[in-house]
Amino acid sequence: MSTFIAITVSGLALGAVYFLVASGLSLIYGLMDVLNFAHGVFLTLGAYAGWAVASRLPAATNSAAAFALTACAATACGAAIAAATELVLIRPLYRRPVGQILVTIGLDLALVGLLLGVFGSNSRTIAVPAWLTSVTRLGSERIPNGDFVALGAGVAVLTVLTWFLHRTRYGIIIRAGAENRDMVRALGINVGRAFTLVFTVGGAAAGLAGLLNSVVFNGALIDPEQGDELLIFAFIVVVIGGLGSIAGSAIAAVLVGLVQVYVGFYAGSGAGLAQLGNISVVLFLAMVLLVRPRGLLGRTA
């Protein structure tokens, strides 16, 4: 029973990281109909920014504040790169969806190539406080502290996003724009600003997710291609949750995280079964789409 609790917490933490990535993808698609294949490299760049800041902090720094600073750097880097992408590359391609897809794929390939050229393919280690890699005892069970951090970040981002989308004017603009962009324009609102804002928010969440994924699930290691691996699961989460639905993404992220961890732990420990957890996610996607082709909370076409 106690192992089940630890596995469940781990699945929820993984779901939280998936949500951080998927929320941005879903927001961007919901408002702009842009499938952003460069989202993966936003994650990677966020992780590298975190690594760059953490490696410059004094060795004695072992505090929550130091990790918060690292996380802020990852978040800010993701936000800045995403905003620049929207302004420079996506904006000139409005109403040209194929061009947008191609440019995001191209950007992803170019930036991953750049990271490989600068840092090489070897992984680098992010310096993190010791408390983050230790465990908390819950009865006889040992829960990694990193799981709690990822879970807390996911819940915090979901709370802030929900508040933002429902309580602020820009949030209402984003929800309205997802329904009918022309009508938003016809009310005298500059939708372009909302587009930039959505990309920035999505990039910020992606940057944070890149750092947390490395720290919590990858032994604090980062490499130039880590973002693209995570992006595949994030796309699956967005499709299961329903394109454009933040609540759907949150539910789907938790389900995908739990399915992946449960199957991986209980059925994937034998020889040749290491990928069973990943395969189970794809099967889960197929099952959901068979029953609900629009995803759990997707909008009607």
Binding site: R175, D182, A186
Partner: protein, 240 residues
Amino acid sequence: MTLDAGSAHDNLAVEVTGLRADIAGSSILQGIDLQVPTGGVTALLGRNGVGKTTTLRALLGLVPASGTVRILGRDVAGWPTHKIVRLGVGYVPEDRDVFARLTVRENLRLAESVASPRYARVYELFPELAQRSRQFAGTLSGGQQQMLAIGRVLLNDWPLLLIDEPTKGLSPLFVTEVVDVLQRLGTACSVLMVEQNVHVVRKLASQVIVLDRGRIVHAGHADDLGEENLVRRLLGVSGA
């Protein structure tokens, strides 16, 4: 073809020359010249598919178009839609286009363009909107959605309103209510209104413009609609 509404630009809320618009390879507007005088209601009429809605959308920059467009004294050709609207243009689209997944209150909040939006006026004219402020707009009836669409422009004091088929699909009771509100609006600002209902046009409009196959075929006073032959020839309906 233009209306006899004064020669000075200052007397015109809208002045269009050679407006052309193509949609999906079809030439919808084929060089329209029209003028909308400042003050009162000008009705844009025509059979289905002749380009009435496209004309309004082209004025707002919602469809690609060429030609000269002056709105409230400014040459707005090529401007983005939000900038044209901010000149002082309110728009009530065909089929209402309310945001179905937003509440009534959120729909109205989105339309606020001034520091002190006139909610009192909106709720006085359409008290039902106040009662249903937390209801999702997608769950409203057609008439209630039309109230919301008109309510959005009533929040602000626009000098010019573009209104597309305000009575389309409404029950007679709602038509009376909407006509009453539009009558009041027509005394306070300039209105260019697309409308199929000749009776409504007679009640509201002082000027009429008739479109056919992307061109203006008649422009004159609303009294012209009293000529049965003209109505039958241009609109294909009886004016009786």
